[in-house]
Symmetry: C2
Subunit: 204 residues, 2 copies
């Protein structure tokens, strides 16, 4: 009964098949990225949504609820993908490549969300902050386990797995500082260039 109620709500408000809450979060994600969570004000956000600041609270509960929604949406999406890769029967190198490609695509297709999840999680209130950091730590641990498994099996070079995870994740999250200056580069080219470097390195 409750879920039916919610569904009806969504239909009522929809423009382009999206709830007003979704519109708010979408606009907020751009704003949070541009100005940072702390510097983006609810009045700013309201203006972009086309409404007065107070009216936002008919759809959301607080400013930080928006941040929570974004951060955990991204975290869950990555976690789900990781589980699929873990369950698959590919070689270690293929697994890593799949994960890298997934990250790059998420970065390109859901840029605002991923950026915020990467850079603004500090402003999450407890207990969400601890929750988020636990998820992140777990994610990285499992990634490192895949790499370590690969080195013990001799499938990939013997390298410190934590360092490898650090390099890979950081490199991808750094795409943000790039995409403005090199719009000409297509997504596919960027993806294959990055995969090439991250797999094969610089040395000839």
């Amino acid at each position: 009964m409750f879920s039916i109620f919610v569904t009806v709500m969504a239909k009522i408000q929809g423009k382009r098949n999206s709830t007003k809450k979704e519109v708010i979060i979408e606009k907020a994600s751009r704003l949070f990225r541009e100005k940072g969570f702390g510097a983006a004000s609810m009045r700013d956000l309201a203006e972009h949504v086309g409404v007065e600041a107070a009216s936002l609270y008919n759809h959301i509960q607080s400013k930080s609820e928006i941040l929570q929604t974004i951060c955990f949406k991204v975290a869950n999406e990555f976690m789900t993908n990781l589980e699929a890769v873990e369950a698959s029967n590919q070689s270690t190198l293929k697994k890593m490549e799949a994960i890298i490609r997934r990250h790059i695509r998420m970065m390109l297709e859901q840029y605002e969300y991923v950026y915020i999840s990467d850079h603004e999680w500090r402003h999450l209130p407890e207990p969400y902050l601890s929750n988020f950091l636990n998820q992140r730590r777990s994610y990285r641990k499992r990634l490192a386990d895949i790499i370590e498994d690969g080195t013990t099996k001799g499938e990939i070079k013997a390298i410190d797995p934590y360092t490898a995870v650090l390099v890979i994740l950081s490199a991808i999250s750094g795409i943000d500082s790039w995409q403005r200056s090199r719009k000409s580069t297509t997504a596919e080219a960027l993806e294959s260039n990055m995969v090439k470097y991250l797999i094969e390195g610089l040395k000839k």
Copy 2:
């Protein structure tokens, strides 16, 4: 005459051979990193310095002056190092290794400053913002030129130079998200692990 005046000033105020302005900037750097520039208040900062908020303005001109000082200090230091490497007569691979090692050491030794320069430059007011971005663009361009030079000479693998710069710089700046969780790792180990990956890649 003016410079003598300034020198005397520095001696007067010094605790541990540092001006009070330097103390303020040092404390501010930790605060800006922990809370972000926007969320860190002058009253917060004043408390850490052991003084009332208004008293800070006897030593600095504004909050953003602190940010400017930090950002350009870091930028200049990297730029100076780059010029030295460019002028040297090493192989491309050695040049890149030197730059990578320098970045890692700066990250470990001047963590707060480098972090802020990496993450909080958005809050620089004009015209400093444009200035900073120009310097950064120039730095990356020259780094890419070194790599490109190496590929045409056949000294390193044929890889998109811009992608390589992106991967290298991002990987290093990602050390921040690591150092808390892996304090056990020594600086030397981290450095050699990262260099190994960034030079040799993952593939066996």
